[in-house]
């Protein structure tokens, strides 16, 4: 019996955005007890190059998908730093080298570091929040050589052994950035700072009138940091924050990532803090 002709699946942009490309895990680096940086290279046609601050939807086949920021770009390889907190992230972190991961994207807005020439840039990251900022810092360091403004990087973590990318922090320091780290509490012998990231802001060299800030971390931290920066005289419109909401489609179709009128997979995750975002973050969501 002749089979009825089925129309071929159209490779529309929407369908492409929803279909994962296969990538292979070629490297895994342990960053902390529960956080790993995974290096992936394309098996299929590589996806478009991501910009610092954008994210991919990573599939652990048979388990599910999670939004994970791009933490390193070594085209065609791409790095993601994943903290194993749930089913998908645990499966991704536990995948053997050579294993296959599904990747969709890149999605969302980016840090737009190219617009920051001449600004004093203050990068503030908490916990895993340094991952989406890592490539932005690298771009800003490259800018430093070009006679741009000053660059400061302030990172916060729960404890010294939870600080990400310690080698990078040293490298950024050597390249001229003002790098400070602080932790919530520390074991004996720690000679670094202990306290909230905001307690280090006084020591950060920047001119508020020509400063821009890039902030990523837990939302509570973002609110406190943004308020402290505004108190220091930084214009709210010059503060960019990266916000997290539950992501499903990644492409502005499902509405899961809504924050007021914004769809954070499309209009974010990187958004200017000033104006409506500051107001939306004050609203009490249930």
């Amino acid at each position: 019996m002749a089979r009825p002709a089925t129309p071929p699946a159209e490779a529309t942009p929407a369908r492409r955005a929803l279909t994962p490309s296969r990538y292979r895990l070629v490297g895994r680096r342990r960053e902390t007890d529960d956080t790993f940086t995974l290096r992936l290279t394309p098996i299929d046609q590589p996806l478009a190059a991501a910009r610092p601050g954008q994210f991919h939807m990573l599939t652990a086949f048979g388990i599910g998908e999670a939004a994970i920021s791009v933490s390193g770009l070594a085209s065609p390889a791409v790095d993601h730093t994943v903290r194993a907190v749930g089913a998908v992230t645990r499966a991704l972190c536990g995948l053997p080298i050579g294993g296959v991961v599904g990747v969709r994207g890149p999605f969302g807005t980016h840090w737009a570091t190219e617009e920051l020439d001449g600004s004093d840039v203050v990068v503030i990251a908490g916990g895993i929040g340094l991952a989406p900022l890592r490539e932005a810092v690298r771009a800003l360091i490259a800018r430093e050589g070009g006679g741009g403004g000053r660059l400061s990087v302030v990172v916060g973590a729960r404890a010294p052994d939870q600080l990400l990318y310690e080698e990078d922090l040293w490298r950024w320091r050597e390249a001229g950035a003002h790098v400070r780290a602080t932790v919530d509490s520390a074991p004996p012998g720690w000679t670094g700072a202990v306290g909230l990231v905001t307690t280090l802001l006084d020591a950060v060299p920047f001119d508020p009138a020509r400063a821009a800030a890039l902030v990523c971390g837990p939302e509570v931290m973002i609110r406190v940091v943004a308020a402290a920066l505004v108190d220091r005289g930084v214009a709210a419109s010059a503060i960019r924050v990266s916000l997290e909401r539950n992501m499903q489609c990644g492409g502005g179709l499902c509405g899961h990532c809504q924050l007021g009128p914004l769809l954070l997979c499309r209009d974010g995750p990187v958004v200017p803090y000033g104006g409506r975002v500051a107001r939306l973050l004050q609203e009490r969501e249930r």
Binding site: D184, P187, W190, T191, T198, T199, A203, P218, L243, N246
Partner: protein, 160 residues
């Protein structure tokens, strides 16, 4: 020529806004101190008879836990004041204070400063206002750290 103690005090952000006469009042109770990395400024349970204003370096606030040693629960950075036990009875330190880098500080005799503040309540109020502002910042930092926002993801994150 080295700065006078009054000049050092006037340059400290925490005492910003005090007039010259008030700075002299504080200077009259103060001396300049230098500590090496590792040196203790005070220990838990000892008399809190001095206030330290950090001009450079870092002081760790530690709590000794048997079997674990001195856990670092806070740090005091350049421009900040170390502890407040000298301001309130029973004037006894609750933690250890240790220089974790070479520290330059102004040490103020606590009894001397308290006596001057009581004799001139307007001066005392302006002084306490400044210390209370620092206290509030440290308290807020502590409260937010209690949330453990970098912890297991149940606090501070909007995804779940």
């Amino acid at each position: 020529m080295p700065d006078t103690i009054a000049q050092l005090i006037a340059a400290l952000p925490i005492l910003e806004g005090l007039n010259a006469e008030e700075v002299e009042q504080v200077a009259g109770c103060s001396r300049n101190v230098a500590l090496e990395a590792g040196q203790l400024l005070f220990t838990e349970g000892s008399r809190a008879d001095a206030c330290y204003l950090v001009r450079r370096g870092r002081v760790a606030i530690e709590l000794h836990v048997p079997g674990r040693g001195g856990l670092v629960i806070d740090s005091v950075e350049t421009g900040d004041v170390v502890g407040w036990s000298w301001l309130f009875p029973p004037y006894r330190w609750v933690f250890d204070g240790r220089a974790v880098a070479p520290v330059g500080a102004v040490a103020i005799d606590a009894a001397c400063l308290r006596a001057k503040a009581e004799a001139d309540p307007a001066f005392g109020y302006r002084l306490v206002q400044r210390f209370a502002a620092q206290m509030m910042r440290h308290l807020q930092s502590t409260q937010l750290r209690l949330l453990d926002v970098y912890g297991d993801g149940s606090a501070g994150h909007a995804t779940g």
